[in-house]
Symmetry: C2
Subunit: 322 residues, 2 copies
């Protein structure tokens, strides 16, 4: 018998049955833990596979580890080679599970900014009827999506279906045409795209290429009516430059679901920046049953491949960071 | 020379040029007014056509009126025959201009309710990081749309594109299949549909058939996780029953953009009802350029028909109310 240690916190009884059925098919037993401290010391050498986001500093404690499957799409805390007991440990993520929930979050915050919901909510809290303020629409907008993976593609498909005029994907390397996007360019061409962007959406992992990409210079290239939405990683954005642009009216609005640091300290100036919608890293909320179902499904599919010695589909390249 | 009196408040210079070009082609001159009081008494008999929502009690003051074109989709204040100088005045509306803006409003409020944005906004106002709460998605939901006109169809197309599992249209009479809906049933079948509805959206005009249709009995037929969104007319909803259902946890949430009366008085119990998102009749906000463009375009198209003695396309049946 071989062993899998599961650290996912979102599993229903149904998910456990699915996991156990898939595992037993390949002679694996499954143990569930909430924290590392619950793992009996004598069992540590048994586990070949970990599923779930165990604290990175604990990964080395599993000497027989061969595969770590994250239940998140983001893998930035796990790209450091020194956290692994040996360099051959394969790292996979759950990219593919988050497109639906994160793209619905993106639509929500875009519409809240475009339709200026804040004054209406404030007036309603005071039991007052607020006069109409000018609004804008996703329909007819030019939308630039940084990151063309599962999440960026899900966002692009949705804004296109809602009538966005032009949807541009931006990624590290050129890739074949994808019907979700009107065009795909590389990061190097970003500066040319920004002046014609009404809404800039970041759905990028944290990597050396993406850190700071929404820089002071790039923010200044956007037209003053533009919006920025970040659901990738907080490191992409120069938060000081963003706050200055919003305070100075150089940018119409922004919505950050990710930021640096998380949680944001109570005295951070972002909290009081005008036209900035802050949410506490919830766009990929694991309470959406669909997200959890896909997450488990992706693991079980890669488990079958792993057990048969085939390449895994969800592999993270630790040099690239995704 | 014949004359058109325009009472629309949203017109840009570009819209005026478009209107004047269309009018002059058929030998009409255009005068613009903000209020009835601005119309010189001696000019009242000149106007054959009014474009815009002049106060209903002033319509009789135009003895030569042959056509009243509303700039709204809703026509309920203009169905009373006694407001017209003669029974032959044709009434048209601007159904077709509002689908984009109202459907984007519907998506916004649905997502705000499904994703429980309120506690996050309250925490952010207090500079606090709020823990994740369970959420739901449009993806996979069963959505029932009351009213299958321009607005209901635009809503149906969008939720379908976002992956709604089943989209049911409900209307007065059976009609041929419409690809925007998975099925269309009549008001008479509503009670059978409600127990399997996750989100009920009303985009109906006010008519004798629709007044009170979201009744206490019908609200009770919805499952407790259901949401109600109303962007049609406030008279559709039994507001007391709705508030009771929300307070009693018999319904998960609601968003009303229309209500009775408007504006809602400061002491109305709706303001303090839990899980109720109230907006001040702004879903069809005329500041969306697209809405205004289409509104003017629809008028100009019907003007060409009117001038040539052809039937108008946007006619409101004053007996039906739409």
């Amino acid at each position: 018998m071989k062993y899998i240690a599961v650290f996912c916190r979102f599993l229903t009884d149904e998910h456990r049955r699915t996991l156990e059925a898939a595992a037993s098919r390949w002679d694996y037993a499954v143990d569930y833990y909430t924290h590392f401290d619950q793992v009996p010391a004598e069992k540590l050498p048994l586990y070949e596979i970990i599923y779930g986001n165990l604290s990175p500093r604990r990964v080395r404690e599993f000497p027989s580890l061969r595969w770590l499957c994250l239940d998140s799409a983001g893998a930035d805390k796990y790209v450091d080679e020194s956290i692994y007991p040996n360099p051959d440990v394969v790292l996979t993520n759950s990219s593919g599970a988050y497109g639906v929930t994160i793209s619905e979050h993106v639509l929500m915050v875009m519409l809240m900014l475009l339709r200026h919901i804040s004054p209406y909510l404030e007036a309603a809290a005071a039991h007052r009827w607020h006069p109409a303020v000018p609004i804008r629409s996703i329909y007819g907008s030019r939308i630039t999506v940084l990151g063309t993976g599962d999440i960026g593609t899900a966002v692009a498909q949705r804004v296109k279906a809602l009538g966005a005029r032009q949807v541009t994907g931006v990624r590290r390397r050129q890739q074949p045409a994808d019907p979700a996007f009107d065009r795909i360019v590389t990061y190097r061409e970003l500066a040319e795209i920004l002046p014609d962007t009404d809404i800039l959406i970041s759905a990028m992992p944290h990597t050396p290429d993406t850190a700071g990409i929404i820089s002071r210079e790039n923010i200044a290239l956007l037209p003053p009516h533009a919006l920025i939405v970040n659901v990738g990683r907080g490191t992409a954005v120069d938060q000081e430059a963003l706050a200055e642009a919003l305070r100075g009216g150089k940018l119409a609005g922004a919505a950050l679901d990710v930021m640096v640091p998380e949680p944001l300290p109570v005295d951070d100036p972002l909290w009081t920046t005008p036209n900035l919608l802050l949410t506490p890293h919830i766009s990929g909320n694991m309470s959406l049953p669909y997200t959890c179902d896909i997450d488990v499904e992706l693991f079980c599919e890669d488990l079958a491949r792993f057990a048969q010695g085939q390449p895994l589909r969800q592999v993270v390249n630790r040099n690239l960071g995704y």
